[in-house]
Structures are given as structure tokens and as C-alpha cells.
């Protein structure tokens, strides 16, 4: 029974646990409970990935109704990969969260925090695993609503404004996506993604489908914070609790990119999106300023969480740039970077949380002398930073290498220049931290800063070490990304 129902359990387990949190009588138990649930969820996604590798894609019929009448869960090479990323980050962050949450969130709200966290996890996993277009929207709403709650729990009062801004922008994005799905349903009479892919070519040449394509693209790009629709992101990441920033930066935008890939490549197909519609040009024109402006603005930030948030805007630019090339190599680089960026940015935000644990915030002045007082945390930041820059032997290098390859393949050498300039800008903003931490003396009258607790250091280093490991042993991730890219390119020919 268990193995047959694994796809359903992947979602249902965290989904049921969220309300169960409210019923637990002892608030102390909630963290342990959440941890156990997250680890089990991670276990399920590992199992699903190995099942998919051994036996091929799995389709699961919700309520025993065959698609397209019922809702289908679909685990294939791409979704199992993304499921693993999300649940892995979910488990690592929750391991870390106990200490950080104790410090940043008032005790009577802990239960609500963990409940919202589980909902968010379930929502993100639900988006990834489903094979139904409307179901994507439903789970998008679950994850978004819980995300707004999580962001608003930040201990800075500006977290409320940030969450409100995110709520307005996110709702706009979701509405656009819903309009897009509605128009598709009107023209095809189905909501199942596979079925849509089969039926849409007949009506592809109508204005209604073109409009639906446009609405979907804009809506999803709002969700994934593509420049210039990124305005909600910096404040949300900067003022959210540390654990939430790490979790969101490593998962939420990644899942949105996955949704973009799913809709554009599987439903509409490469030919329609990139030859009939000018998708490639539009995405490229958005992602190049994303990289350049995002990195430049990052240099001027005093709040380091905000700095990393702007750097995320730039990194999302790299992923979209890879996708906009619409070639196997380009897509490989985009998908690779999706995974790699989750590791490094997740690790960096966790490390920042360690600094905020003692100093209360992570502004540039708090970094003075941290090289001596918090050697492990600072080392994590340096390694993560090297990866952001794209130094060889880190994951950042691998994905940028593929991006440059993909660009040169099509003779777009200016793109290679953009990538290079983006990396140089990253050197500047990361150097600011290094300089403050290693070349400045500690202020005498400052509070005594010690190394972050072990329970926070270990998860941080887990992600950072993974970003080194996958930077050296590249076969595993490149293989997975390449397979996914080929699948996407073939899907809608």
C-alpha cells in the first residue's frame, strides 16, 4: 500500500501535519514533530526519484478517477528532481530552524510558524508533483498564503509591509495564471497537462491561446521574480525570519521556474513559444538587465540579507537566460543552476542567520572582525560567495560554464560577456563582506560575538559542502539536468 501511494503521501504527509501542529498540546513537541515529518517527506522524494530512474515516470490517479476526468499526479525525470531539491532544503532548514526561531519569533507564535512552514512545503511539493493545470493554481495559493504569513513573522516591523507588498504582487501573478488556465480550458475543454499538450496544437493558431500564453508567462514571471517584476523579492527576503529567507530563496522561485518550464515546453511546445511567439527574445531582454542591474544594486546594499536578495534577482536572470536560448545546452544550464543556486543561496542565507543569531541583524557593520569570532560561519560565507561568483570547483562554475557554452553554440558571444561582467560584479559585493570580516578589527564596545550554535552550523555546512561536492563530482547533476532538458525539448515539437 505504501509504495503504491507514495506520490500521494509526498503531499498528504506535510499537508495533514500542518493542522495537526495546532492540535499538539505541548509547543515544545511541535519542532520535533515538524522535523520528523520533513525527514519522512525527504525520504519519500528520494524513494520516488529512485523509482523513476529504475522504472520510468509514475502516474497516480487521485480518487481512482482516470485523467483527464480526475486529477493526476505525475512524477517524471524533471519533477522528481525538483521534488528532491524542495524536500531536501525543507528538511535541512527545519533542522536549523529551532535555534533561529527561538531567537527571532515570540514563543506563542512558534506553533503557527511550524504549521505555516509545513503548509508552504506541502504547497510547493504539490505544485511540482501535479499533472493538472488547475491543481497547480490551487497549490500555488496554498504555498503563497503560507509564505505571506511566514514573511510577516519577521521581527522587523518592515516585514509586515514586505509581506503585504508580496501579497499584492503574488495575488496579481496568481490571477494572471488563473486567467491563462481558464482560457486554455475554454479552448480545449481539459485541465490535465498531458491532455492539454495533446489537444492544444489544434487550436494553437487562435488569439485566445496566444492571450492565454501571454497571461501565463507574465503571471509565472511575477512569481519567479524576473526583472522588472522582482520588486516584491528584496524586501520579503530581507525582513523575513532567517530560516524563511533561506527556505524561500532556495525553493519558491525555483518551483516557479519549474512551472514555467512545464507550461511553456510541455503544453505549448518549443516551436510555438520560441518561433511563433517571441518568447526567447523577451526572456533574454529581461534576464540580461536582471543580471547586470541586480548585481549592481546588490553592491550598494548595507543590509546583507537584502544584498543576497538582489543577488538572487541576478541569479534568476542566469537561469532564465539559459532557458531563453531554447537549446538542450541552454536548458541544461538553466536546470543545473536551479539546483546549484538552491544549494549555495540556501547555505548563504543560513550562514547569515547564524550571524543574526548573536548580532540581531546582518548589516555590513556587524561583519567587522567576524573572521576571528565566527570562523566557521565566515568560512561558509566565503565558500558560498565563491560559488556565486562562479570560481572553478564550486557549483556556480559548472552552471555558468554550460551557460557560456550554450551561448557560444548559437554564436551569441555578447551573452558570454554579460556572464563575465555579472561574475565580476559578484566579486565586488562578496569582497565587501570579506574585507569587513577579515581586515577590520572588532569594535571594543560591541556585544561579544561567539560562533553560531552547532545546530545552526551543521545545516549551513551541509548545504555549503554539497555545493562543493557537486562542483567537483559534476556527473550526477549534469546527467539529470541534461535528461530533463532533452525531455523538455522533445515534448512539444
Amino acid at each position: 500500500m505504501i509504495s503504491h501511494n507514495l506520490p500521494a503521501l509526498q503531499i498528504v504527509l506535510p499537508l495533514i501535519s500542518a493542522p495537526l501542529c495546532l492540535l499538539l498540546l505541548r509547543p515544545k513537541l511541535v519542532w520535533i514533530f515538524t522535523l520528523v515529518v520533513c525527514l519522512a517527506t525527504l525520504g519519500i522524494s528520494v524513494e520516488l526519484l529512485s523509482l523513476v530512474i529504475n522504472t520510468g515516470a509514475i502516474s497516480y490517479e487521485m480518487g481512482n478517477w482516470a485523467p483527464p476526468w480526475g486529477i493526476e499526479l505525475r512524477v517524471d525525470e524533471i519533477s522528481s528532481f525538483v521534488l528532491l531539491i524542495v524536500s531536501l532544503i525543507g528538511a535541512v532548514v527545519i533542522l536549523y530552524a529551532r535555534k533561529s526561531v527561538e531567537r527571532e519569533i515570540p514563543p506563542h507564535k512558534h506553533t503557527l510558524f511550524y504549521s505555516a512552514y509545513l503548509l508552504c512545503l506541502a504547497g510547493l511539493l504539490g505544485i511540482v508533483i501535479t499533472g493538472d493545470a488547475f491543481n497547480v493554481f490551487v497549490f500555488l495559493e496554498i504555498s503563497s498564503l503560507s509564505t505571506y504569513t511566514l514573511v510577516a513573522l519577521g521581527n522587523d516591523r518592515r516585514a509586515l509591509t514586505a509581506a503585504f507588498q508580496y501579497l499584492i504582487m503574488g495575488t496579481l501573478g496568481a490571477t494572471f495564471i488563473l486567467i491563462g488556465i481558464g482560457l486554455m480550458y475554454m479552448m480545449t475543454g481539459t485541465l490535465n497537462i498531458q491532455d492539454l499538450a495533446g489537444r492544444i496544437p489544434e487550436v494553437l493558431d487562435t488569439r485566445t491561446i496566444r492571450a492565454s500564453f501571454a497571461f501565463l508567462t507574465v503571471g509565472i514571471c511575477l512569481k519567479l521574480a524576473l526583472f522588472p517584476l522582482h520588486l516584491w523579492l528584496p524586501n520579503s527576503y530581507a525582513y523575513a525570519p532567517s530560516a524563511v529567507s533561506a527556505f524561500l530563496s532556495a525553493t519558491a522561485t525555483k518551483v516557479a521556474i519549474y512551472v514555467l518550464l512545464r507550461f511553456v515546453f510541455i503544453i505549448f511546445g518549443v516551436t510555438f513559444a520560441f518561433e511563433v511567439m517571441p518568447m526567447g527574445t523577451v526572456l533574454m531582454l529581461m534576464s540580461i538587465p536582471a543580471i547586470l542591474i541586480g548585481s549592481t544594486v546588490a553592491i550598494f546594499q548595507q543590509n546583507i540579507k537584502r544584498m543576497l536578495a538582489y543577488s538572487s534577482v541576478a541569479q534568476i536572470g542566469y537561469m532564465i537566460l539559459g532557458i531563453s536560448l531554447a537549446s538542450v545546452t541552454g536548458l541544461t544550464s538553466g536546470i543545473l543552476h536551479l539546483f546549484n543556486h538552491a544549494l549555495m543561496k540556501g547555505g548563504l542565507f543560513l550562514a547569515l542567520g547564524g550571524i543574526a543569531y548573536h548580532t540581531g541583524a546582518a548589516r555590513i557593520e556587524h561583519f567587522k572582525g567576524l573572521g576571528q569570532t565566527m570562523p566557521w560561519t565566515m568560512a561558509a560565507i566565503v565558500v558560498g560567495g565563491l560559488s556565486l561568483i562562479g570560481v572553478p570547483l564550486t557549483v556556480g562554475f559548472v552552471s555558468k560554464w554550460y551557460l557560456v557554452l550554450a551561448a557560444l553554440e548559437q554564436g551569441y558571444w555578447p551573452i558570454a560577456v554579460v556572464v563575465l561582467v555579472g561574475s565580476l560584479l559578484a566579486v565586488i559585493y562578496m569582497w565587501k563582506l570579506v574585507e569587513a570580516a577579515y581586515f577590520n578589527k572588532v569594535d571594543k564596545n560591541e556585544v561579544v560575538v561567539r560562533e553560531a550554535p552547532l545546530q545552526m552550523l551543521i545545516p549551513t555546512w551541509l548545504l555549503i559542502a554539497a555545493s562543493l561536492y557537486f562542483g567537483i563530482h559534476t556527473e550526477l547533476t549534469i546527467d539529470a539536468a541534461q535528461k530533463a532538458a532533452e525531455l523538455l525539448m522533445e515534448a512539444g515539437r
Partner: protein
């Protein structure tokens, strides 16, 4: 249209909220015209009913006048115009309204219409689709409502900590007429809610609408007799537990079907006869929906209405 335009031009938020209510009511009758009775019922109960009350609650906490916006109107206007143009562009190739040859009537709908009677045995097809064929979506919707309740509870509520509230809550119990009418109406409203809840298989209705109607009955009581008295009937702790219990009933049915050898939410295995199984399943999940919706609506209402009193205590 007239209502929508006057909403845009008005600055008095109180009037705007009331106009929103009218707008929803008109939309509801519009939905009835389109033969979407279930949607109309939801729109009437949620749009015209509860959300008006909640928005008035927000106004009570903030202010009645709209602030001057700090942005210029050009960019928003451009975005709205482009979006509107895209929507009109989309209509150009749309299939004709209510043409039986439309894709939506040709592909999956026929099975819902022709076979749901034998497969599920519930006369109201909307309920069949909602609670069984696409029951997983509906579970998702319930969780969305739960998430919304959780969000408001986190930001405004007092989950877990309970400061002693000594200040009496505002009430209108000195109005004799209101008191008498409310006492006569509330049992009827609850009875009607029960009808909608359990009759959803046969006529329009179901857990969503019923939940909102239940909540409306209790909110009416709270408005007239004061929230304190209402909370003596149903305390915040009970509401928070019910919020979770509703979702658990719904998802629990799914877990039980998995144990019985079916897929998640495959109600066929619940009884020897698949159609009976479907009946039990739909009845139970609708109950779950009703419980969560009622509890979340009440939780949000009480979070709003207690806010002022909590604030005044925190200031002291």
C-alpha cells in the same frame, strides 16, 4: 458596471464596502442566469455576506477615509489598459457562448453529465465533480482557507496566550427590536445552514456555503449581543481546534481510503457498493469543508473584533 465604476471614484470606504456587497449580490444573480446556482450561492454568501462584515471590521480598526495615494496614476493605468486589451484580444477567437459544439462541452464534460449518476449516484453533478472527480482540488481549497485563517491568526490573533480582557465588548443589546429579531432569525439561519450542508448532494449547496452561513449566524449573534457572549458559546480555543479538525476530516477520509486499498480520496472502497462508498465519502468531506470554513470565518471575525480591545490592553 455602474457599481464598479462608482467604487473606483468614491473615497468614502464605508460606502465602497456596501457597494461591494451590492456588486456581489448582482454578480450572484448574474451567475444564476448562467445556470451556475452553486457558484451564485457561494457568491451571495461569501461576497455579499461575510466579506462585507470582515471589511467593515477592518474599517472599524483603521479609518473610514481613503488616504491620498502617493503614486501617480499613469503606470497603474497603463498596466490595467494593457491587461484589459489582452483580455479583449483573447475574446476575438473564443467559441460562441453556449454553443454545444464548444470544446468544454465536448471533451470531458459529457462523462460528468452522463455517467456521474451511475458512478457516484448524486443528482447534483456539481457536487460530484467538486467532491469526487476533483476532490483533491477541493481539499486544496479547504487548505487554502485554513492557510488564510492561520495567517490572520498569526498576525492579529492571540493563539496560545490569553490576556485577560476586562473591557466589555461593544454590543447592541439595548436595541429591543434587534434583539428580538436576531433571536428569532438565528435558529432559522442555522437550520438553513444545516439544510445547505446536508442537501448539497441533491440541490445546490455544500460545505463551503453552509460553513459561511453558520458563521454568519454566530457573527450576527456576536454583533448584537457582544463578542464576549458569543465566545462563551464557542471559545477561541474550540475555534482553532475546529479549524484543524475540518481539514483533518477531509484528508483523513483520503488516508482511510488508502488503508482500505484505494487511492487517495478514492471513495469507492468505503463501502461494499461503490456508489454507497461515494455517498459516505462525499458526506464526510463536505462535513470537513463545513467545519473548517465555519471555524476560519469565525476565527478571522473574532481576530478582527477583539483587536481593538487587545490593543487597548497592551497600551495600558
Amino acid at each position: 458596471m455602474v457599481t464598479a465604476f462608482s467604487i473606483v471614484f468614491m473615497r468614502d470606504l464605508f460606502a465602497i464596502v456596501i457597494l461591494f456587497g451590492i456588486y456581489s449580490l448582482v454578480s450572484a444573480s448574474f451567475f444564476v442566469n448562467l445556470d451556475a446556482v452553486d457558484v451564485a450561492l457561494t457568491e451571495a454568501a461569501v461576497g455579499a455576506g461575510i466579506s462585507t462584515v470582515l471589511m467593515l471590521g477592518t474599517l472599524a480598526l483603521t479609518t473610514r477615509r481613503e488616504k491620498k495615494s502617493s503614486h501617480g496614476p499613469t503606470l497603474p493605468l497603463m498596466v490595467v489598459t494593457v491587461t484589459g486589451a489582452a483580455l479583449i484580444f483573447a475574446t476575438l477567437d473564443m467559441p460562441y457562448f453556449s454553443d454545444p459544439a464548444n470544446p468544454i462541452h465536448q471533451h470531458i464534460a459529457p462523462r460528468f453529465i452522463e455517467q456521474s449518476g451511475q458512478e457516484i449516484g448524486v443528482p447534483n453533478m456539481v457536487t460530484s465533480v467538486l467532491a469526487s472527480y476533483r476532490g483533491y482540488d477541493t481539499l486544496g481549497e479547504v487548505v487554502v482557507i485554513f492557510a488564510a485563517g492561520l495567517g490572520v491568526l498569526t498576525l492579529l490573533g492571540r493563539f496560545g496566550k490569553r490576556p485577560e480582557i476586562t473591557m466589555p465588548s461593544p454590543s447592541m443589546s439595548h436595541h429591543l427590536i434587534l434583539r428580538v429579531i436576531a433571536k428569532a432569525l438565528i435558529p432559522l439561519i442555522i437550520l438553513y445552514g444545516l439544510y445547505i450542508q446536508f442537501h448539497g448532494d441533491y440541490g445546490p449547496g455544500g460545505g463551503f456555503q453552509a460553513g459561511v452561513i453558520f458563521a454568519a449566524a454566530i457573527i450576527l449573534y456576536a454583533i448584537i449581543f457582544g463578542t464576549e457572549k458569543a465566545q462563551r458559546v464557542i471559545s477561541p480555543t474550540v475555534i482553532h481546534i475546529l479549524m484543524a479538525v475540518g481539514v483533518l476530516i477531509y484528508a483523513g477520509v483520503g488516508v482511510i481510503t488508502m488503508f482500505l486499498g484505494g487511492n487517495f480520496l478514492g471513495y469507492n472502497v468505503l463501502a461494499h457498493d461503490p456508489v454507497h462508498g461515494q455517498h459516505y465519502g462525499i458526506l464526510l468531506v463536505e462535513l470537513g469543508v463545513g467545519v473548517t470554513v465555519t471555524a476560519v470565518m469565525l476565527s478571522i471575525f473574532f481576530d478582527f473584533s477583539d483587536r481593538k480591545r487587545i490593543q487597548s490592553i497592551e497600551e495600558q
